[in-house]
């Protein structure tokens, strides 16, 4: 474990930042650390965290997924339409939409890995296409409200714990196993560090790349459905905020935006930091506009800390060669 910490200083830093931020927020807003408030903070962070899971995989592998907003939004709206407020259809609608999310990820992954489309272009395109399709599908009219079961999954509790937080915990465990304990993780880090070296070492680079986008499609679709339960209904544009926050959570969590490093455990802290910030600013009487300014600044600062350590490492490597 200590080796893990030594190699992942940036992740430790992210958790330290989270704790400091919590204490600062509590100073300005005394009720912040209350159980009920912490509970709602974790719930909100869970949505960011779930979307950012797939994003973490994609970014570690050296790509980026800009299609998450409308994969999320599409899953939310199609679920609401197909269920029409009823619980029973969820039995097939949820698996169907998870598969749908995975399929979009597959399209992204194949475009990037097999056809060499740059990830930014590929995922931006699928994002816009999905947006168009949903507009055509709904004609802009509101959708039926969310089924009660999905509302339970996002705002309900089991033994005092929010269900969505438990889902997040389970996903965190699964992601950690995949990254730290499975061959997939090794392949992924190698791919993101150098695709050429990975290829020359026999890593299944195409398959690994595709898998990251599939996971991202899955988690975005899942988050879309859970978020519909949280808001009580699906609406156009509900995914927009998650493009920035999913990438920001990964960056704050210590991953290099260029790939090859980072961990989902860091992203979890990143999601918490972003969510706590949204709680801190109202306490300081700052507007939502100010929130965006702070968001941007936080990203800039954390990423530059990250790249500085990266540059330092590069210097050491050059210096040692003799």
């Amino acid at each position: 474990m200590s080796a893990f910490l030594a190699r992942n200083r940036l992740i430790v830093l992210a958790y330290a930042g989270m704790v400091v931020l919590l204490l600062v927020t509590a100073m300005f807003s005394p009720g912040f650390l209350s159980v009920s408030n912490m509970r709602s903070t974790v719930v909100l962070a869970a949505f960011v965290g779930i979307v950012a899971l797939g994003q973490t995989f994609v970014i570690i592998g050296g790509g980026i997924d800009l299609s998450v907003p409308w994969v999320l939004n599409s899953a939310a709206i199609v679920m609401a339409l197909l269920c029409g407020g009823q619980d029973l259809p969820l039995i097939w609608v949820m698996p169907l939409l998870l598969a749908g999310g995975a399929f979009i990820g597959l399209v992204n992954g194949v475009g990037v890995a097999q056809f060499g489309v740059p990830p930014i272009i590929m995922t931006l395109a699928t994002n816009v296409i999905l947006q168009g399709l949903i507009l055509v599908l709904t004609g802009g009219s509101p959708t039926p409200s969310a089924p009660a079961l999905i509302q339970f999954l996002s705002v309900g509790r089991i033994g005092g714990f929010p269900v969505v937080a438990l889902i997040w915990l389970a996903l965190t465990l699964a992601a950690t196993l995949l990254l730290s304990k499975a061959a997939f993780g090794r392949h992924l880090y190698a791919l993101g560090t150098s695709a050429t070296v990975a290829e020359f070492s026999g890593v299944p680079t195409a398959r690994t790349t595709i898998l990251t986008y599939v996971v991202s499609g899955l988690t975005a679709a899942l988050a879309g459905m859970l978020l519909t339960g949280y808001s009580g209904q699906a609406y156009l544009g509900m995914g927009d905020a998650y493009l920035f926050t999913s990438i920001a959570a990964v960056a704050i969590g210590g991953a290099s935006i260029l790939g090859g490093s980072g961990h989902y455990l860091g992203t979890v802290a990143g999601a918490m930091v972003l969510t706590i910030l949204t709680g801190l600013l109202p306490a300081l009487n700052l507007s939502s506009g100010a929130l965006l300014v702070v968001y941007g600044a936080v990203i800039l600062i954390t990423v530059s800390i990250g790249s500085e350590t990266f540059a330092g490492l590069g210097g050491r490597i050059r210096g040692r060669r003799a």
Partner: protein, 500 residues
């Protein structure tokens, strides 16, 4: 008076001492060779001289004045330019744009004066008799060797009084290497100081007036070049007496054919290659650079598309990508040309690099067993004598020779028993070179079959059982026994090149 005098120079990187008490002095108008094993501190030393790294202690005098450059621009202002092994060129720019990068001649409006640039480029290339370079050619289209030549031109464009050449010949084919040696003499005759780093003793012998030897970050000796023997130099470098560089060539070849290649073709670079490699054989591949050696190795490894027939251990093999090449007991493994770009994850640990190709072997029910992995890593580190603090040390912080050993280890952990070694000793110090040759012979004795390319011809002559000479994408000759000589290889490589 000496142009450069260095005393008590020291430099640490974190806990690692790269230089301690290094001393150096050199005069204008000489070629001064800097020798030492990988990791001896040569690179750190020239990085300090060229302003890329700042020293911790000691003094450097240039022209009798204190010298402490803040950055490479500072160094250039004092007339010091360096040509590094890792090239600093920009692929999207043309040859001449690279040569004059940030020093472009300007018009009165402050834009780049293209006519003047072209004139300066042609004058520079002509003055130093550069091998054919077209100024307008885009850099990305050039071979590694051509890029190295552009890098040299870029260094000379600054009209330095001190030019540092860091293993500049290692990427060059024989003829161009010859030109570079002549160039260093010309530069010295012009009154410049050339600091020359090379692992090839013959080159040092040919051009150096004096030499300085580093070991473990300190200066161990400085000599007039004609007063010491090769043997003495090597002993000083590695701190012990090296019995012999090339191991004894005991034939271990069996009748069993490990790799059979028929009519292998790939684009315009490989036009019908046929040969067989036997179990226990070290088969050399030589010839002038750019005659299909690289494509042959890449095609066999599945890194480039190729037509024709490949048989491994008697069975037809379809090798579409490196993954297929590496899989199974009938696999084929490559130690690639570009150690840092193709071979190693520099920012990952020795352990992760070693097990990357075989990581699935350590999984139980889908989960990695760190104990199993650690055990095998330790075994390989010991077997190859990889000098790393711990297996967790980052591969990029190892010396060149040790990096190469990690790549060997990675390939040996696969089950593949046909090994493709593309210039495995390039930029590797003489002690490690000896270890690599011994390893090759040991592996051959164990039944491995080895295809071996080297840009250093004596290595082919002394290590390989047979040598294939490539010319225009074909095997021009297969030399055996007493016919294996530098002369024989060159003759086969060149004769028909003239005719073609």
């Amino acid at each position: 008076m000496d142009l450069v005098t260095v005393n008590g120079l020291s430099k640490r990187f974190g806990g690692i001492v790269a230089l301690s008490e290094a001393a150096f002095s050199a005069r204008a108008g000489e070629v001064h060779a800097l020798l030492g094993e990988n990791g001896a501190g040569k690179s750190t030393f020239i990085q300090i001289l060229s302003g890329a790294v700042k020293h911790d202690g000691g003094s450097i005098l240039v022209d009798g004045q204190d010298y402490r450059p803040a950055n490479p621009d500072d160094a250039q202002a004092r007339g010091i330019a360096a040509v590094f092994q890792e090239l600093s060129l920009i692929p999207d720019l043309s040859v001449e744009q690279n040569i004059w990068f940030r020093h472009e001649p300007q018009t009165m409006l402050g834009t780049v004066n293209r006519t003047q640039t072209r004139r300066n480029t042609l004058a520079l290339l002509e003055k130093y008799d550069f091998p054919t370079l077209r100024p307008e050619q885009e850099l990305r289209r050039l071979t590694l060797a051509e890029r190295q030549i552009v890098e040299i031109a870029k260094g000379l464009a600054k009209n330095p009084r001190i030019l540092i050449l860091d293993e500049a010949t290692s990427a060059l084919p024989a003829r161009e290497a010859e030109w570079l040696l002549k160039l260093t003499r010309q530069l010295a005759a012009e009154g410049r100081l050339v600091i020359f780093i090379s692992h090839r003793m013959a080159e040092v012998r040919a051009i150096a007036d004096r030499l300085t030897i580093f070991r473990n970050g300190s200066t161990v000796a400085a000599h007039e070049a004609n007063t010491v023997s090769d043997d003495e130099i090597v002993t000083r470098m590695i701190g012990r007496h090296l019995d012999r560089l090339y191991p004894e060539r005991v034939p271990t070849m069996t009748q069993r054919i490990a790799l059979k290649v028929a009519n292998l073709t790939s684009g315009s670079r490989l036009s019908g290659v046929d040969f067989s490699l036997r179990e226990g054989e070290v088969l050399g591949v030589g010839g002038l650079q750019g005659h299909g050696q690289r494509e042959l190795f890449q095609a066999l490894f599945g890194a480039t598309k190729a037509g024709g027939m490949i048989e491994l251990w008697g069975k037809p093999a379809a090798i579409g990508n490196p993954r297929q090449a590496l899989t199974g007991k009938d696999g084929i493994a490559l130690v690639p040309e570009d150690r840092r770009g193709q071979g190693l994850l520099l920012t990952k640990s020795v352990r992760e690099n070693l097990t990357l190709s075989v990581i699935r072997r350590f999984t139980e029910n889908g989960l990695l067993s760190r104990q199993k992995e650690a055990a095998l890593v330790k075994e390989m580190v010991d077997f190859l004598r990889i000098r790393a603090g711990t297996p967790e040390q980052l591969a990029g912080t190892l010396s060149g020779g040790n990096q190469q050993k990690v790549i060997f280890g990675k390939m040996l952990l696969t089950e593949a028993r046909v090994l493709l070694l593309y210039d495995p000793t390039r930029g590797v110090d003489v002690g490690t070179k000896g270890e690599i040759f011994q390893l090759m012979r040991d592996l051959a004795a164990k039944g491995y079959a080895i295809l071996f390319h080297s840009s250093d011809m004596p290595e082919l002559v002394h290590v390989a059982d047979r040598v294939l000479v490539m010319r225009n994408g074909r095997i021009a000759a297969a030399l055996e026994g007493e016919h294996i000589s530098e002369e024989g290889i060159l003759r086969a490589a060149m004769l028909e090149t003239r005719a073609a």
